[in-house]
């Protein structure tokens, strides 16, 4: 492989950027080492992950620093191999967006690596867990940093398989392995159109390059029809729908909670699910070049998901599922943000950024709770405020962030989204944002009240988690508290300077929107408080919602529908049918042929016995001589041979002499 290098950069290139390609490599190396030597090292290999990811984290901060100083983007690649005309590269493309993602991924991943020390302590497959964790981090970083689509696709799929492995980490239980398969297949369904989208882009370049820059340029060409671009965009969006669990492929995420909680925090809250959003941002050009209806479709999907999921979050008893549905709707928030067009990019990513931290935090808190009470169900919790103070306070911060209360992270990002929506006149999206904000605040309050207030309803004896776990909680809580300020207009919204689409949008603060958002959030919280200040069986929502309760419990029957209408028929009926066809029709034909050959043989013999001799037998009977008849029921009669001989001659003679 000749390492010819393409470099595009504006302004000074810091050493961190030059060596940014090391960032994804580090966790990969740690993964390899963990796999082969992990078991034999003290601490069963966790150390490698922490160290290497830590290093990667440091580097990514270095990268971010470059942009904080207002540095420009940087791209470099080396050719990997060539197929026909198509050059494939291994390369990196680093700009503000990338930098942000790098930081998020590395940081959260590091937190989770550390947190898992405690959470996964004594697990049967501890080392394996760390291996996959590192592998996932490497894959995710590849996706983030890659400068071309194929490399991105590879990372994309590897993430998928890692998620599969982690969800099914405790595969002794059938539900877990089921969940893992569900997750993989569902996302894969999204990946297929995504792959085709990539093909479309590559094809647009005449099968010459796969680099993102190359394809965006090619798409920009006048020759390419709007429809083509739109189709490509929609196909690509399929990937997002799958990975970011948007309607209608959202079904896997709640089940994915079967995995260990740190995994849920990292993969199913902070990073992988955000990759779908990141993808849209990365290829935003395509979406903007496409006809408007594409973004409309996107926004519709977003709206459905955000409201639908938020509603489901209200009725969950399993704390992780509450968070899972919340994640769905928050992701939809981001997607919705992007669907607002150029202006929405910054806002959307800001929400991605903040959400990664507070949702990661919330999940880790939930984990710590579960760790303590050995149950996911909030009905087994309650009154933990005293027993687990650290968890309580950190989770409170996370929750306020989620609910969008000043000054915590969530407030700023939500507010920015609302502003953009309002300014770009996407009023119904604006409405959806607001409604979701209300719901969010409500279920967050519900969650907090059910877990920390009232009195303890569980059986285990809960206690505060070990420092390895509480440590990350505190750190994240801290971050959550202040990170929002990066986007605070009053402070110049620096975030917008790092992540923007061609022009830096000055984030504005519109007081009445800010106020409206806060009011709704508070309203939600109060509503929650009103209903849940004292624990009640059954859940008061059940009465409030009436029939809807059942519908929500059944997730709008969507999962059931998929299972009954698609999965089972394909897996059991259709496959059986095909196999039947194979065995009885196709194979039947083959065996039939053989049978036919044998049959013909039998026929010839039958002919010999019954026509040649049989004629005679018949005549023998005619002559009415029983004896004679018997005599003739014999083949091998030499005189028949003789007769045959003459008939043969005469026949030949007549026929051919006539011809001649």
């Amino acid at each position: 492989m000749v390492a010819e290098t393409v470099t595009v950069s504006t302004g000074a290139v810091s050493v961190f950027l030059k060596y940014a390609w090391v960032i994804p490599l580090l966790p990969f190396v740690s993964a390899v080492i963990t796999l082969f030597f992990g078991k034999r090292t003290p601490g069963r290999g966790s150390v490698y992950g922490i160290v290497f990811v830590g290093a990667a984290c440091a580097m990514s901060f270095g990268v971010l620093w470059h942009f904080i100083q207002g540095g420009g983007p940087y791209e470099s690649a080396m050719s990997w191999f060539q197929v026909g005309p198509l050059h494939l590269e291994l390369g990196i493309l680093v700009d503000g967006l990338t930098a942000i993602m790098l930081v998020v991924v590395c940081f959260i991943s590091l937190m989770v690596h550390i947190y898992s020390l405690g959470y996964m302590h004594g697990d049967k497959r501890f080392t394996w867990f760390y291996f996959v964790l590192s592998m996932f981090t490497a894959a995710m970083l590849t996706v983030v940093i890659s400068n071309n689509l194929i490399q991105l696709l590879i990372g994309w799929e590897v993430m998928g398989i890692c998620s599969y492995l982690l969800i099914g980490h405790w595969w002794e239980e059938k539900e877990n392995s089921n969940a893992s398969i569900k997750a993989f297949i569902t996302t894969r369904i999204g990946d297929v159109p995504f792959m085709f989208g990539i093909f479309a882009l590559i094809a647009a370049t005449g099968f010459t390059t796969t680099s993102i820059r190359g394809v965006t340029e090619a798409i920009g060409m006048p020759g390419v029809s709007a429809l083509y671009v739109s189709m490509a965009a929609i196909l690509l969006f399929g990937g997002t729908v799958g990975k970011s669990a948007q309607f209608p492929l959202h079904v896997w995420l709640p089940d994915a909670m079967a995995g260990p909680t740190p995994v849920s925090a990292l993969i199913h809250a902070a990073t992988m699910v955000a990759a779908g959003v990141y993808l849209v941002g990365r290829l935003f050009e395509i979406f903007l070049d496409a006809s408007p209806w594409v973004l409309t479709v996107v926004s519709v999907v977003a709206v459905i998901t955000m409201v639908g999921a938020a509603l489901l979050a209200i009725v969950q008893n399993d704390i992780k599922r509450v968070l899972a549905y919340s994640t769905l709707s928050q992701l939809a928030y981001m997607v919705g943000g992007l669907s607002l067009g150029a202006a929405g990019l910054t806002a959307g990513f800001f929400h991605l950024f903040t959400h990664a931290f507070f949702k990661g935090l919330l999940f880790l808190c939930a984990g710590s709770l579960i760790h303590a009470v050995h149950s996911n169900n909030m009905s087994d919790m309650g009154g933990l405020r005293k027993k687990m103070p650290i968890t309580f306070w950190t989770m409170l911060i996370g929750s306020l962030a989620l609910a969008g209360i000043l000054p915590f992270a969530g407030f700023w990002s939500k507010d920015e989204l609302l502003v953009v929506a309002q300014e770009t006149h996407h009023y119904w999206l604006f409405a959806a944002f607001l409604f979701t904000a209300l719901l969010t605040a409500f279920y967050t309050a519900r969650m907090m009240l059910l877990t920390f207030y009232g009195d303890y309803r569980g059986h285990a004896s809960p206690h505060e988690s070990p420092p390895s776990m509480s440590g990350p909680l505190v750190i994240l809580a801290g971050v959550t508290t202040f990170v929002g300020l990066l986007g605070a207009p009053q402070l110049g919204a620096v975030f917008g300077k790092w992540v923007f689409y061609d022009v830096i949008e000055a984030a504005k603060f519109v007081p009445w929107i800010g106020l409206l958002g806060t009011v709704l959030a508070v309203a939600g919280i109060l509503g929650g408080y009103a209903l849940y200040k004292t624990y009640r069986e059954p859940d008061p929502m059940e009465a409030t919602l009436g029939p809807l309760w059942g519908v929500f419990q059944e997730r709008y029957y969507i999962d059931a529908f998929y299972m009954r209408a698609i999965v089972l028929p394909t897996r059991d009926k259709l496959s059986a049918g095909v196999y039947w066809f194979n065995q009885n029709v196709l194979d039947g034909i083959v065996n039939g042929m053989a049978a036919l050959a044998r049959g013909v043989a039998r026929l010839v013999i039958w002919f010999d016995r019954n026509v040649i001799d049989g004629v005679v037998n018949g005549l023998g009977d005619l002559t009415g001589q029983a004896a004679g008849a018997l005599k003739f029921i014999q083949s091998g009669n030499v005189q028949w041979y003789a007769a045959g001989l003459f008939v043969g001659v005469v026949a030949l003679a007549v026929v051919f002499i006539k011809i001649a």
């Binding site: 990997w80 191999f81 398969i181 095909v578 083959v590 053989a594």
Partner: protein, 511 residues
Amino acid sequence: MTWQNSAITITTFLPILGAVVILFMPKEKDKAVRGLAIVFTGAALVFAVAMALGFEHGKDGLQYVLDVKWIPVIGARYHVGIDGISLPLYVLTFLLSFLCAIYSWRYVPEAGRTKAFLALMLLLETGMAGTFIAFDLILFFVFWELVLVPMYFLIGIWGSTNREYASIKFFLYTLFGSVFMLLGFLAMYFSGPTVDGVHTFDMQVLTAFGAAGGFSHTFQLVVFGAVALGFAVKVPMWPFHTWLPDAHTEAPTIGSVLLAGVMLKMGTYGFIRIALPMLPEGARTYAPWIGLLAAIGIIYASLACLAQKDLKRLIAFSSVGHMGFVMLGIATLTTIGIQAAVFGMVAHGIITGMLFFCVGSIYDRYHTREIAEIGGGLMAELPKMGGIFAFVAIASLGLPGLAGFWGEVMALLSSFSPAPGLNVALFRGFMIAGGVGTVLTAGYFLWMIQRVDMGAMPERWQAKSFRDIIAVEWVSWVPLLAFIVILGLFPAIIFNLTQTGAQALSALFGG
């Protein structure tokens, strides 16, 4: 006789020599016999690798050529050579055979008679290798047929319960196909050019002639049909695949490995080496149909896999699907497609070969292949075995970064826009079918892993306390596992080889 012109001959026929030597060994010297098999296959592999190292990349045309009179009466020659397209398959043949020999050090089927078993295996090796380096149609055909007989016996003698039916079916079906193939060859021979007065079977001559449009249109249609049928049965393309599941299910592990690993490639190789270049117009006319069959095959096979209760049969069907991707790539008649096809062949050879090894070893422990009877928990009790099995299965479902990915994705990419003159919409349809196929493939493999690897091992087995992977298995598997990763990360290894050849070929179709 220099290394340049004798290398192929030596390498290819070394195994036969081994077979002879083994036949003269006394029965009792069982271990010695197995040793010899390893030695000979190993030596052959070394030679093959040496050739691969000496191979000049990017240089079009054949290398290591030897072209001498063989049967002047009919103008057949002993013309052997190797180019970028045959080299990977050639080496693959020797690699797999070598690993099989090693595997046999420990595992020889119940039927016993190690001598005969290994001798036949060596004979098979030569036959398979020969097909990839023959550049004379008759020579090609001879090697092609040479493969039939030993495989017939391998299945028929060392197979499992239903072996007889399977072996006969395999033999007759393939023979049936090759009759048409031979017809096609002879047709080309007779209407092809004459070299100093005599018609010729020389593949290069015929290729040049065919490329220059030497054969009439109708002729091409008819002959391509005949030849393609012959190859299609071998591949096997839907709906000519029904011999495969039976053959695989009944064959001994070694048999399955070589069958899936190399023999199926003979068919696809035939398409690339003979059908397409010699009969371009025929190819262009039939391409959509081939594509269609391939697409059907992909979906059909993966659905059939979902219905399988027998582990080995499941993998056999999965082969049909994977070869469907290969054929799809070929059907696009583009450089990318053809390169994808070759890559797919090699990858499938390694991965599916490995899968059959796994199943063989699992069977060796459980003495059943019924998924339901195995009942899961493999990974719990035999973590290494289970892990490797899962890994290979995942590789087989085309996970990026592993060997299985490139063949599949490139084939689909190429079918996004096939060679000029082919119906784009149609091929995109095939592409979509392929995409659906990948999902289903993932489906049945993960389901298989769930049912075999995961969960808890049933009581009745735990009593048995199986041993996890043993040394012999490690030795014979590690190379394959390594290649699964290496090819995944450095696909250039194959793609660089096939580049020139594929470009030359697709040039015929303006691709």
